[in-house]
Point group: C3
Chain length 155, copies 3
Amino acid sequence: MAKIEEKLKAMGVTLPPAFKFAKPNRRGCMTVGRMLYCSGHGPADLPGVKRKGKLGGELSLEEGQGAARAAAINILAAMKEHLGDLDKVERIVSVFGMVNSVPTFEQPSQVMDGFSDFIYELWGPDNGWHTRCAVGMVTLPGNQPVEIKTEWLLK
Amino acid sequence: MAKIEEKLKAMGVTLPPAFKFAKPNRRGCMTVGRMLYCSGHGPADLPGVKRKGKLGGELSLEEGQGAARAAAINILAAMKEHLGDLDKVERIVSVFGMVNSVPTFEQPSQVMDGFSDFIYELWGPDNGWHTRCAVGMVTLPGNQPVEIKTEWLLK
Amino acid sequence: MAKIEEKLKAMGVTLPPAFKFAKPNRRGCMTVGRMLYCSGHGPADLPGVKRKGKLGGELSLEEGQGAARAAAINILAAMKEHLGDLDKVERIVSVFGMVNSVPTFEQPSQVMDGFSDFIYELWGPDNGWHTRCAVGMVTLPGNQPVEIKTEWLLK
């Protein structure tokens, strides 16, 4: 079994089907040279994951972190469909984390650690760290709590 | 006549002059290797296009889609000035679509289809699809309804 | 002395220590090929710089511009720590400037000129201009007035 998927299994994570976009004008992933560009993804539909609402509003910090982790799972599902094998990824490069927030919410970084800690654990200390933005958005598609855009380097 | 400009003509689109930035510290486009980076652009000043206002506020979904299409036209004008010929573009890669929104607006994706459908029609099913984010912003420069950042691959 | 640091000295700027991230899951900079990716940074802790508050709210345009300039200084500090020598940078490529704003604030571009004018002065007319977005955010980490994401080309 592939290494990253073995780790996912050990962490108790099963990848859902990749998100299906409403129109053919966009897709989840594109490879250009050794760079892998991923579309912004919201949280996967997993048990216990809140998929609607704003931080500082109806969602707690912990629920936001769970949504960010579930967005990572959605991104990995898109990458798995695109690449066939997640072991083709050398490392994560850049993360743009957008958190649906009320104007007084000040912890988008802590929310995004739900994503970053998960990916860091999967790819490890050499290839799991990344550059990052974590910022507050006035609204997101379907009122989802997070949307996360990523770029990765392939082997 | 160049292929993309022929298609634009057939679609009834005339490119306006490229947007002039207020200061020399920034420009519309930069080429690095085969990647073309474009600055965020708002809607071109075209008849019937609303160039101010928020989605979920004074602008309807259809007006937002028109503004997103007009932003695509502004981006193509900047690319034409920079490249000389739009046929130097192989494909669109990445789109970051920002929609000026009230906190309860949930359809930035539908707004951004005004951009994506237009580009998809121009470059076709092989080279017109892209990775995308479509998100809500609390405000944009001059209260414009959309700002769209793009990256393209050159031939 | 290195050229860029000589210019900084002539401008009266001393680089602070690079920002220390709370967790090892992210860092300030990553080199991939000749591209340098930098994490989003807020303003450096410098005398007279406002490091909290929204534009159109408690911060004036001038205070926002000062915060954007101070974010540039934080980014250069991160790059100096990562690269050792800022003269390894050929040019700035892409800037994504996020301004903590109330919904009626319309001048994120003018705020971001505090960043762009500073970098343009440092790298000069050939290598200091860049592609840019300047947009309004409903909130940012710790209520900081700006967060700025950058990409640079190395020599």
